[in-house]
Symmetry: C2
Subunit: 337 residues, 2 copies
């Protein structure tokens, strides 16, 4: 029998869910995307997603404050709603409380939760508090909605579509790196920017709403949580296409570029595989691009053309600065087993 | 600052959620009942609830099989839907996987999940798989629905209403007890019955549907997960009433009675505080009782009149067999901190 390490996260999910055939009559999109979707009525879709963060796997309590953790736990779930073009409405929170956790820690955690829920008009809608013998954990279920017929999914990218991302990439994983080591050449401003991107990611709900309301025909979308390479592979796999991205077009923040250069760090692995960017990655036909740029400029939001969809099924290639093409390895998911 | 032990589970939940004022316009019932409820459309309510089970807190892998655990994790969540008169439609499952967990363990766990989901027509609608350093955990979010205007809540019991419970009480906690000790006088049939009630609780969806479709005017309902005393206190608190229950009326299975008597065990603490019965506890005016009995008889389901609602706010009293009355202590929640 395959062991968990060999299966990887995606292999495991496929294995466990393959026998489940029942679909309710109002299911719009079953599990397998950023959210699963059902239509509670004729005008709205209900989006649902769940994500857990575990101490010493996803975060370290010596490097993130409880307030930041509360905010981030909600943010990464709201990002799943953003990836589908949705508006978040409700969250349910399960806390697994280990014996070193204090009341004041939980007060601070909920201060962070409250902050981000207030910004995005999200209702605290339930939860569970349980004891957890060793590690603190937090599981969030988020509910959101879109208008019927308005929904971004991973499936739908077509050959010739252009690939875009919001924001800049790699900041979060570089933030994680500089947090754990002290001997970095890094200005305090750069440090602040990179840590902020790692500890306090902003779910791209504004950009997502801009896209869902625009006349741009977005053909696929995902949020970059596991790294550009892997998340682009999800789009390719579900759409039955390939992708080519250009190294020189990948958007980098000035702080990221400077810290990589000052410390002899290769930027590419951080951008491609670092993860936790929580930017939106999406595709659209080239005739919509002018419109897209105009709308993002108006909204003062960053968007960058990074590549195009190709016919070479499931293959994500990188055109390097030196002119060479490289096929990026397929990932079986973030392998924490 | 209060510590977690002093606060208890309910105190903690109140403390953490009190600042959250935002309610979406379509919220029917905010957090604080077995499920929170919103109205996605004019004809249906959406019910949502979440519950986690943690290794060595809620279960011990040496005494429950992975298949039983999968089934039970879903069952206790479906019980929350039953408590509101709902029909479960979907579940999302988060697995916190420790390194001693194997692929075959997870296959068996999902065999149990699949079994109960198939029985109740529930769709697997998403989830997350994460690594958990020490203890295995499973978090379930369940979604269900009721017709608008058809909803049982903890609030609404009135002085003079009669109190009923489905099934028999105490079996599950006695099952837990006999599982952990070997020197019990207990026939194999009794053992089987009690273990089955502990390891494989049946969510009372059939009884709940019977009640929601009947003309009986159910004034309040809850499922007994933390023990009769505590869950009745929830009804009393939310309804602003008190309750009197009769020791001699509390429904016991023959196996429970025999094993308690053969082993010199007091049945009352198991019935009042044992928990995990997952029976329905509900109230209705006395003029609906004949109708209630007729319907339960027809459905071959057990229902027992165990007491009545009184005016003495928040106080749950027990009329003992010796004629004495005793006020049951208030609980601050299952205190696992």
């Amino acid at each position: 029998m395959a062991n968990l390490k060999d299966l990887g996260e995606f292999g495991l999910i496929n294995r466990l869910s393959r026998k489940f055939k029942h679909q309710a009559s109002d299911t719009v999109l079953p599990l397998g995307d950023d959210c699963a979707v059902y239509s509670a009525n004729a005008s709205k879709n209900q989006l649902v997603s769940t994500d857990a963060l575990v101490e010493n796997i996803h975060f370290n309590l010596s490097t993130i404050s409880p307030e930041q953790l509360g905010q981030k736990a909600i943010a990464v779930n709201l990002s799943d709603i953003a990836a589908m073009g949705g508006t978040p409405t409700r969250v349910l929170i399960t806390l697994g409380i280990s014996n070193k956790i204090s009341t004041s820690f939980l007060d601070q955690l909920y201060k962070g939760v409250h902050k981000i829920c207030t910004i995005h008009n999200v209702e605290l809608f339930g939860g569970d508090t349980v004891s957890s013998p060793n590690s603190f954990f937090i599981n969030i279920t988020v509910i959101g909605e879109t208008k019927r017929g308005k929904l971004f999914t991973r499936k739908g990218a077509k050959k010739g579509d252009l690939i875009f991302t919001t924001g800049t990439l790699g900041d979060s994983s570089l933030g994680l790196k500089i947090q754990s080591l002290k001997k970095w050449k890094c200005s305090s401003n750069s440090r602040k920017h990179l840590l902020e991107k790692h500890l306090n990611p902003i779910p791209r709900l504004k950009e997502s709403q801009l896209l869902i309301r625009s006349t741009c025909k977005i053909t696929s979308m995902i949020d970059i949580s596991d790294g550009l390479a892997q998340d682009l592979q999800h789009i390719c796999k579900q759409s039955g296409v390939g992708a080519l991205i250009y190294e020189e077009k990948l958007p980098k923040s000035p702080a990221f570029t400077k810290v990589c250069s000052d410390n002899n760090l290769k930027p590419l692995p951080l951008i491609l595989n670092g993860g936790e960017d929580y930017e939106l990655l999406f595709t659209l036909p080239s005739d919509g691009v002018k419109n897209l740029y105009r709308q993002f400029e108006k909204a003062e939001a960053l968007v960058t053309h990074i590549g195009e969809i190709t016919a070479s099924s499931n293959k994500v290639s990188l055109l390097k600065k030196n002119g060479k093409r490289e096929i990026l390895p397929q990932s079986s998911g973030f392998n924490h087993f």
